[in-house]
């Protein structure tokens, strides 16, 4: 089971601007649920609070109101039930790819042959079995991001959280990794919540798309594309793709958000 719910999550920051303290409402009673095995995209204009929401779900930040639950249990800080992939891989530069993936497993208490074999298993899953001894600076951007994905998956989380995971990559690498993510999801059946500002990516990868505006939920759009999504090129040309994309686009450009 890997159901994650945001329940009335609010987040306020106090910012000192020009000597005055202003309250910024980053999130305002945000609520939605990602079902077990579902892929949900979180999309919205810059500053809408989607990354904040993801970080709160991960436990890297605390909400000022509301709660996040995984399988009905409220979270307290970070845990092994959730893994995160950052926009820039954020690998530890002094460790090679293998040791980077092993790091999380070591934190879990794994040692010895089991540690090595598990790390190798996930590096093989992302196709990097021949580059395990390379340091991050010896890896391309796409390869680094793959190591980041392997590191997050290796701890076997119930939920995979991704913060604009392919945003820093060039278009071709991005497409390749999108295909790979779909394959990984088909194989591991993980619950995935990812933040993106790319409408195409949201429709291609997700089952539902949560559209945010100004810290609030604007709309949740269903993606009626069947799985497995093998041929992304064909899907891009399909009617359902265009209609869903347009639906999300409209939601992004709508006026005041509808309150749920």
């Amino acid at each position: 089971m890997g159901e994650v719910s945001l329940i009335d999550v609010s987040k306020r920051f106090a910012l000192r601007i020009d000597g005055n303290v202003q309250t910024v409402r980053a999130l305002e009673r945000l609520s939605f649920t990602v079902a077990d095995g579902e892929v949900v995209a979180l999309i919205g204009p810059s500053g809408c609070g989607k990354t904040t929401a993801l970080r709160i779900a991960m436990g890297l930040e605390t909400a000022t109101g509301g709660a996040v639950t995984v399988d009905g249990v409220a979270i307290k800080g970070c845990g092994y039930d959730r893994g995160i992939v950052f926009q820039h891989a954020e690998l530890l530069p002094w460790l090679n790819a293998l040791r980077n993936v092993e790091f999380g497993l070591e934190m879990k208490g794994m040692r010895g042959a089991e540690l090595h074999d598990t790390a190798m298993k996930y590096l093989t899953l992302v196709g990097l079995q021949d580059s395990v001894k390379r340091r991050p600076y010896q890896l391309s951007g796409g390869m680094q991001q793959r190591v980041g994905i392997a590191r997050a998956l290796a701890i076997d989380p119930k939920v995979l959280l991704m913060d604009e995971p392919f945003g820093a990559l060039d278009a071709q690498t991005r497409e390749a990794l999108q295909t790979e993510l779909l394959e990984i999801h088909a194989r591991t059946k993980k619950t995935i919540l990812f933040v993106t500002h790319d409408l195409d990516e949201a429709v291609l990868l997700a089952d539902r798309v949560v559209v945010m505006q100004h810290g609030r939920l604007q709309e949740i759009v269903d993606v009626p594309l069947p799985r497995p999504r093998d041929d992304l090129a064909k899907i891009r040309g399909s009617e359902e793709f265009s209609q869903t994309r347009y639906h999300i686009w409209r939601a992004l450009h709508a006026g005041a958000p509808t309150l749920h």
Partner: protein, 274 residues
């Protein structure tokens, strides 16, 4: 799995863009520059009044004299001992202190100002006080060298801790690492390049500290040769310890540079140095 053409230099065997090869190796340019300086010095140095200056061949003769009568060796040994003690103590105390100040805001608020002030302190002015505290022998020399080197080491470490990207700390937190593990396994390795920079910076200051100590406390070692030959107007001999000290400092710096590449090789690649 999609196999992408990776752009890492290690796998680039297509040879379409070779790394820019310098026409002359670096060491050749350095050596040539030193030789040119020596030649120019030799030519123009001979014309200077021997009381005011000297030239390479005379200095070399003086060097050989000092070497063969054992004075240079003995002086070097005398100078090096407090140097090693003071410099190593500066590392052993400076690095952990820098880590603590950088990591805990209370320590930074309390001690930061003292460290910054200590760095700017003119040590020469403090030597009489140090002599009162430590006497005139080995201890005061080690103390002077320690005080000269500890502050840059501490400050660089402190800066390094504060420069650790918050995102790397996030990585540790997201993998449920406790604070002590984050400090030891993420903050410390990330700070290593800064620590090495501080240690290298301190070499020059430690050498200055050593000479100051030898001038103002009991005159011994290389400082003694400098003072005595200056008093005898033997300028050629005076230059010998100066050049020996320069060579020592450069040598130690190079050794630390090698050590830095062994211990923190990723920094060069990230900074794009080659």
């Amino acid at each position: 799995m999609v196999d992408l053409a990776d752009r890492s230099p290690a796998a680039n065997d297509t040879g379409d863009v070779a790394p820019a090869r310098r026409s002359v190796p670096r060491w050749a340019v350095t050596t040539a520059s030193i030789i040119v300086i020596i030649i120019l010095w030799e030519i123009f140095g001979r014309d200077i009044n021997p009381i005011f200056g000297s030239y390479p061949s005379a200095i070399f003769e003086a060097f050989l004299t000092l070497l063969y009568n054992g004075k240079l060796g003995a002086a070097l040994l005398q100078s090096v001992q407090p140097f090693v003690v003071g410099y190593c103590a500066a590392i052993v105390i400076g690095v952990p202190l820098g880590l603590v100040i950088g990591r805990f805001w209370v320590a930074e608020a309390a001690l930061g100002i003292l460290v910054t002030g200590g760095y700017a302190m003119p040590l020469v002015a403090l030597v009489p006080l140090l002599v009162l505290w430590f006497g005139l022998g080995f201890a005061v020399k080690a103390a002077v060298i320690f005080l000269m080197s500890v502050f840059p080491i501490c400050i660089n470490t402190w800066l390094g801790v504060k420069s650790v990207p918050k995102t790397l700390i996030d990585v540790g937190k997201s993998l449920v690492a406790p604070d002590s593990v984050i400090l030891r396994r993420i903050v410390l390795p990330a700070t290593l390049p800064y620590i090495m920079a501080g240690i290298k910076l301190a070499v020059g200051r430690a050498v200055v500290g050593m000479v100051i100590a030898e001038f103002f406390t009991s005159i011994s070692g290389l400082g003694a040769i400098i003072i005595n030959s200056a008093n005898n107007f033997d300028t050629a001999t005076m230059f010998v310890p100066i050049i020996v000290l320069m060579v020592l400092a450069v040598g130690l710096n190079a050794l630390l540079g090698w050590f830095e590449r062994v211990v923190a090789p990723w920094q060069d690649e990230i900074a794009g140095r080659n």
